[in-house]
Symmetry: C2
Subunit: 387 residues, 2 copies
C-alpha cells in the first residue's frame, strides 16, 4: 500500500511538471529524436557506408550541445566548433614540431606541450568574462588539443584525425541546430522578456496585496493569498538566471518581435532595478507581521494617501509590465506615476497637519519612505525601458 501511494505520488509529480511547462516534454522528445537521428547514420547500413564511424562521435556532440533554448545551442555549438578548429590546428602544428625532435625527443616535447596548453587554458577559465561566455569552448579546447597531441605519438594521419573530429561536430551540430530552430523553438530572448515582465508584475501584485493586508481595506475582504505576497521573493535571486538568459539571447537570430541585435543588456538593467525594488519590499514585508503594533488612530490618518500611493505605484508597475509585454511606449505608467507623485504630496500634507504625539508611527513611516523610493526606482525603469 505504502509503495503504491509513493508511486502514485511520483507519477502525479511527473504529470505536474509536464503540464506546468509543456515545452519541457517537447524538449525531451526533441533530444530523443536528435540522438536517434544521429544514430541512424550508424544503424542504417547504406548511411553507415557513407559516414562510417563518425556517427558515434556525432552522438557526443548532440548530447553535450543540445540545450533547452536556441541561444544555448548556438552558443555551445559555436564554442565547440571554434575550440575544436583552433585546438586541432595547434595540435597538428605541435605534432609537426615534435616530429623534428626525433623518436626519442618526441614524447617529451608532446608532454611539455600538453602540460603548457592544459595549464594555460585552465587558468584562463578563472577570468569572469571568459567564464561567462566561453567556458565550454575552453574545456573542449583542452580536450581536443590533448587528444590530437597524444594521438600524434602513435596515429599516423594526425591531420585526418583532427579533421574527423571537426566533421563529427558539424554533423551533430547541424542536427541540433535544425531541430532546435525549426521544431517548436524555445527562445532564450523570449524567456528573458517574459521573465522580466512577470517579475515586474509580481512586484505590482505585492504592492497591491500589501495595501490590502496592511490597511485591511474593504474592497478585498478576503485576505490576499500568501502566494501574491510572496511572489516577489523569486525576484530577489533572479540575477543569475537573467544574466544567463541574456547571454544566450545574444546568440539568437531575430525571431518573433525581436530583431537580431535586440538590446538584451537593457533587460539585465531593468532586472537589476526590479531586484532593487524587491529588496525594499523585503523590508516592507516585515511590517505585515502582527507583532509590530501600531497606533490605529494615526494609521487611520495616513491611510488614505498611503493606500492611494500603493495603488498608483502598483498600477504604474502593472502598466510597465504590460508595456514590456506588448513592447509599446508606457503612457499609462507615466499617468500613474504622476498620480503617485500627487499622492506623496497629499501624504506630506496629511503628516504636517497631524499632531505627532505618538511614537508608534515608527511602524507607519517605512510605508512612506519605501514607497517614495519605489517611485524613484519606477522612474528609472521607465527611463531605461526604450524597446
Amino acid at each position: 500500500e505504502k509503495s503504491k501511494s509513493k508511486f502514485l505520488n511520483f507519477t502525479s509529480n511527473i504529470k505536474k511538471k509536464a503540464l506546468g511547462d509543456p515545452r519541457r516534454v517537447i524538449h525531451s522528445l526533441k533530444v530523443g529524436s536528435a540522438i536517434t537521428l544521429v544514430s541512424l547514420l550508424y544503424l542504417i547500413l547504406p548511411l553507415y557506408e557513407i559516414f562510417g564511424l563518425h556517427a558515434i562521435w556525432a552522438i557526443f556532440t548532440v548530447v553535450f550541445v543540445f540545450e533547452f533554448t536556441v541561444g544555448a545551442v548556438l552558443s555551445k555549438f559555436t564554442n565547440r566548433g571554434f575550440a575544436t578548429l583552433l585546438a586541432g590546428a595547434l595540435g597538428v602544428e605541435g605534432v609537426n614540431l615534435a616530429n623534428c625532435f626525433g623518436q626519442k625527443g618526441k614524447p617529451f616535447v608532446l608532454g611539455t606541450l600538453l602540460f603548457v596548453l592544459a595549464a594555460g587554458s585552465t587558468f584562463s577559465r578563472f577570468f569572469p568574462r571568459i567564464k561567462a561566455r566561453y567556458d565550454y569552448g575552453v574545456v573542449i579546447f583542452i580536450l581536443t588539443s590533448s587528444l590530437v597531441l597524444v594521438s600524434g605519438q602513435r596515429v599516423e594521419g594526425i591531420f585526418d584525425f583532427a579533421c574527423q573530429r571537426l566533421y563529427d561536430i558539424l554533423i551533430g551540430g547541424a542536427i541540433c541546430i535544425v531541430i532546435s530552430l525549426f521544431v517548436c523553438p524555445v527562445w532564450a530572448g523570449q524567456d528573458l522578456h517574459n521573465l522580466i515582465a512577470s517579475n515586474i508584475e509580481k512586484l505590482a501584485n505585492f504592492l497591491q496585496g500589501f495595501e490590502c493586508a496592511y490597511f485591511e481595506c474593504s474592497v478585498c475582504k478576503d485576505n490576499p493569498d500568501k502566494s501574491v505576497l510572496e511572489g516577489y521573493k523569486s525576484v530577489l535571486n533572479s540575477k543569475a538566471s537573467e544574466e544567463l538568459l541574456a547571454n544566450f539571447a545574444w546568440w539568437e537570430p531575430g525571431h518573433g518581435r525581436f530583431r537580431l541585435f535586440h538590446p538584451w543588456t537593457h533587460y539585465v538593467k531593468i532586472g537589476a532595478l526590479a531586484r532593487q525594488c524587491s529588496y525594499k519590499f523585503e523590508t516592507l514585508d516585515r511590517y505585515l507581521t502582527p507583532e509590530i503594533h501600531v497606533s490605529l488612530e494615526f494609521k487611520g490618518k495616513v491611510q488614505e494617501p498611503c493606500k492611494k500611493l500603493c495603488w498608483e505605484a502598483s498600477q504604474a508597475l502593472k502598466a510597465l509590465s504590460s508595456s514590456i509585454r506588448t513592447m509599446t511606449e508606457p503612457c499609462d505608467a507615466k499617468l500613474h506615476l504622476e498620480n503617485s507623485k500627487n499622492a506623496i504630496q497629499n501624504l506630506k500634507i496629511a503628516l504636517e497637519t497631524t499632531s505627532l504625539e505618538d511614537e508608534e508611527l515608527i511602524a507607519i513611516m517605512p510605508v512612506f519612505t519605501v514607497a517614495s523610493i519605489l517611485i524613484e526606482t519606477t522612474k528609472c525603469v521607465e527611463k531605461i525601458h526604450d524597446s
Copy 2:
C-alpha cells in the same frame, strides 16, 4: 606603442589574477600535470603496451572531472562512474534484447530504446533536485547508453566495450582524485566556511561605515571608504555560490577542522539570514545620499543611541563572524546583543522625550527600524549557529 601598452595591460591583468588567489595558478598546474600524467600512459611505450588505447579515453575523464574543489571532483567522478555503470548495464541488456528480434528488427528496437532513454533522462533533468546534484550524471548516462546501444549494431563484444569505458573512467578518475586530494587540496567546505564568515564581516563593516558616514562622527574624520560601504552588495547575490559550495562540501571527506558529516546546510541557512540583513542594508544605503535632507536638530537628539546601536550591532556581527572562523561559542556576540537591546530602549526613551514637530524625521526613522530588524536577524543567526 598602443599594442605594447595593451600587451602590458594584459600581462598585468594576468599577474593580478594570479597573485589575487595563488590557488588558481596551482589548480591550473594540477590540471596540466594530471593530463600529462594520463597521456604518459599512452606516450611511454611499456605503459602503452599495458593500457593500450584506454589512455585516450581517460583523457576525457580528466578534462571533464577535474574541477577546482575536492568536493566538485568527487561529485563529478561519482556521477560519472555510477552513470556509466548504470548506462552500460542497461545498454548491454538493451542490445541483448534487440538481438532477439533478428537482423531486420534490431535497428528499430535499438532506435526506439535510444529515443525512450534519451527523452526520459532529458526530462528528469528538469527536476530541481536532480538538476542540483546529479545533472552531470544524467548527461553521462545519456551519452554512454547511446554509445553502447549504437555500437550494439556493429561491434561484436559489446560487453567488453562497456567495461572498457568503465576502466577509462577509473583510471582518469583515480588520477584526478589523488592529485586533487593530496596536492594542495582546495576544499569546498573550507571555502563555504570562509565565505559565510567574510560575508558576515562585510555586513559588520557596512554598519560601522554607515554609522560614520551618516552621523559624521569625530572618531573617523576621514570618510569611510566606498569599498567598505559597498562590500555588502556582494552578499545580496551570494545564494547560488553558497548552495553550490554546500552541495560540493557534502561530498568531501573530513578535513582540517571539519568532520565528515559537518552540518553544511546550517551554513546555507546562516547565509540566507545574512542575505536578509543585506537586503535591509540596501534600504539603509539609500539614506546616505545627500539629497535626502534631515533636520539636524532632531538628528542630534537620536544620534547617541543610534550610534550606540549601530556600533553594538556591528560588534555583534564581528564577534559572530570571528566565532564562525574559530568555531567557538559566540559569547562576545551575546554581550553585544544585550548592549544593543539596551541601546534600543534608550532610543525609545529619547524618542518619547523629544517633541516631534518636524516631519523630516522620516529620514531618521529607518535607521531605527532597520537596526531593530537587524537585531532580530542577528539573534536568529546566533540561534542557528551551533558549530
